[in-house]
């Protein structure tokens, strides 16, 4: 295996294009474990941390563009980003320990393709858009369209995600992310939910996005759950309809972390609780 530091994005794309079996190295908290366990056997590691701009969080058109190699610790320390997208930031900050936060990246969490990735439901709820760079140039792809299955994304073999844009949000808007794990911290989600709400002046939900993690082969958007919240002030009937829609959309597996039945039930619970937090953050009172 070779180790190469890419100087710029075109070089990284060219190296991907020229090498079947190349892997990109950003935070490395998933990849180095796979290397050690023999689960990944790349012929070349392309370190993208030295590429100009990949390490930046930049304000853009009222939103924030988060570079591919920005660590969780850097995201958590960004006050304006946290104020605008508290749900995305709290999701990123749930990934691993302090030590892992020092390295792990949000874009890596996306590209690793885990159905239980904490930041992905929050990005789906936020309507995040990935900037994909490839041999044909750059294209912008909604994060929702990149998810294909456990460990799989829609990226081509010579494509990479250089950044993710969290869009401008309205004045009365808020998001939240919640997950269930059997212990207090540092575990993988059994089921999780990200919710993003926008309210009118009277506290009525005018726009909603609800996403679930760990209950399907990828994180999923649940438009029916979002529709159940629109027009409400999160009255019990709206929350019940939202939970029912989440349960209906869930298609989880049984594993050591939880049964399919439990995951299905808890997905709705997480979504309704996250909705309440998002509602409060948007300025609504329950």
């Amino acid at each position: 295996m070779r180790y190469v530091v890419a100087k710029d994005c075109p070089e990284a794309v060219a190296l991907l294009n020229a090498n079947n079996g190349a892997r990109l190295l950003a935070g490395g908290t998933d990849l180095l474990v796979q290397l050690k366990q023999g689960a990944a056997k790349p012929n070349i590691l392309i370190d993208i941390k030295k590429i100009d701009g990949f390490g930046n969080i930049a304000a853009e058109e009222g939103g924030f563009r988060i570079g591919a190699t920005v660590s969780g610790a850097e995201i958590g320390a960004h006050i304006a980003l946290k104020a605008a997208w508290p749900g995305v930031v709290e999701a990123v900050e749930l990934i691993g320990s302090t030590q892992v936060q020092g390295r792990a990246t949000m874009v890596g969490n996306l590209c690793n393709g885990s159905p239980a990735a904490d930041s992905v439901p929050a990005m789906l709820a936020a309507g995040a858009v990935a900037r994909v760079e490839g041999p044909g140039g750059a294209r912008d792809v909604p994060v929702a369209d990149l998810l294909k299955g456990p460990g799989r994304t829609a990226l081509g073999s010579a494509e990479l995600v250089s950044s993710v844009l969290l869009p401008k949000r309205g004045a009365r808007a808020g998001d939240a992310y919640l997950r269930f794990i059997p212990r207090t911290e540092m575990d993988i989600a059994v089921a999780s939910a990200g919710v993003n709400l926008e309210l009118d002046a009277g506290g009525v939900v005018v726009a909603a996005r609800v996403a679930l993690g760990a209950v399907a082969p990828t994180a999923i958007l649940v438009p029916e759950a979002a529709a159940a919240l629109v027009g409400s002030r999160l009255e019990a009937s709206a929350l019940d309809a939202c939970a029912t829609a989440c349960e209906a959309a869930s298609n989880p597996i049984d594993d050591k972390r939880g049964t399919a039945e439990f995951r299905t039930r808890i997905a709705g619970v997480m979504a309704t609780r996250a909705a309440k937090t998002a509602y409060t953050r948007a300025g609504g009172s329950l």
């Binding site: 490395g28 474990v33 290397l35 050690k36 941390k49 610790a73 302090t98 030590q99 911290e185």
Partner: protein
């Protein structure tokens, strides 16, 4: 396979070493630079025994490649205190009997020092949360947490 030539600083000293492309920083520190303070517990970033700081950021050195640290500043437990002049964290860990086998201790010291650099007056909950990635199978953690809190108080100059 050709080795990679790397320049960095460790505890303020310039170092250079050759490493394999897949060789992690933990192995570089222990096997090439003879700094055996950082320990390998799990090798997969779960236990924190290999904690060091990389350009001021707390990391697990088993999840960093040696090749990645070109031009970086690394701090290890060997740079914290001396046998004659222990760091307050080290002294309070001893005073509280906050270690038994000691394998986790270097990582705890490095991690706690990084916490106090960022937050000199942490709550008990903040200490527990920050150190959640440092596993200890001996102490049950309470003594470690108390030692860190009392070291922090001393370092702030509070009379405790």
């Amino acid at each position: 396979m050709s080795k990679i030539h790397v320049n960095a600083t460790v505890n303020g000293d310039a170092v250079e070493f050759l490493c394999e492309p897949d060789e992690v920083l933990l192995d570089v520190l222990r096997d090439r630079l003879n700094l055996t303070g950082a320990k390998e517990g799990c090798g997969t970033g779960d236990c924190g025994a290999c904690s060091v700081t990389l350009n001021g950021r707390l990391v697990a050195s088993c999840l960093v490649l040696g090749a990645e640290v070109e031009g970086s500043a690394i701090e290890t437990v060997e740079g914290i205190g001396t046998a004659d002049a222990l760091h307050p964290l080290q002294r309070h860990l001893l005073d509280h009997a906050a270690l038994q086998c000691g394998i986790c201790t270097p990582g705890i010291i490095v991690a706690a020092k990084a916490l106090l650099a960022e937050n000199p007056d942490p709550s008990e909950e903040e200490v527990r949360f920050w150190l959640a990635g440092n596993l200890c199978r001996c102490t049950g953690y309470d003594k470690i947490i108390r030692a860190v809190l009392s070291a922090a108080a001393e370092m702030r100059g509070d009379s405790a």
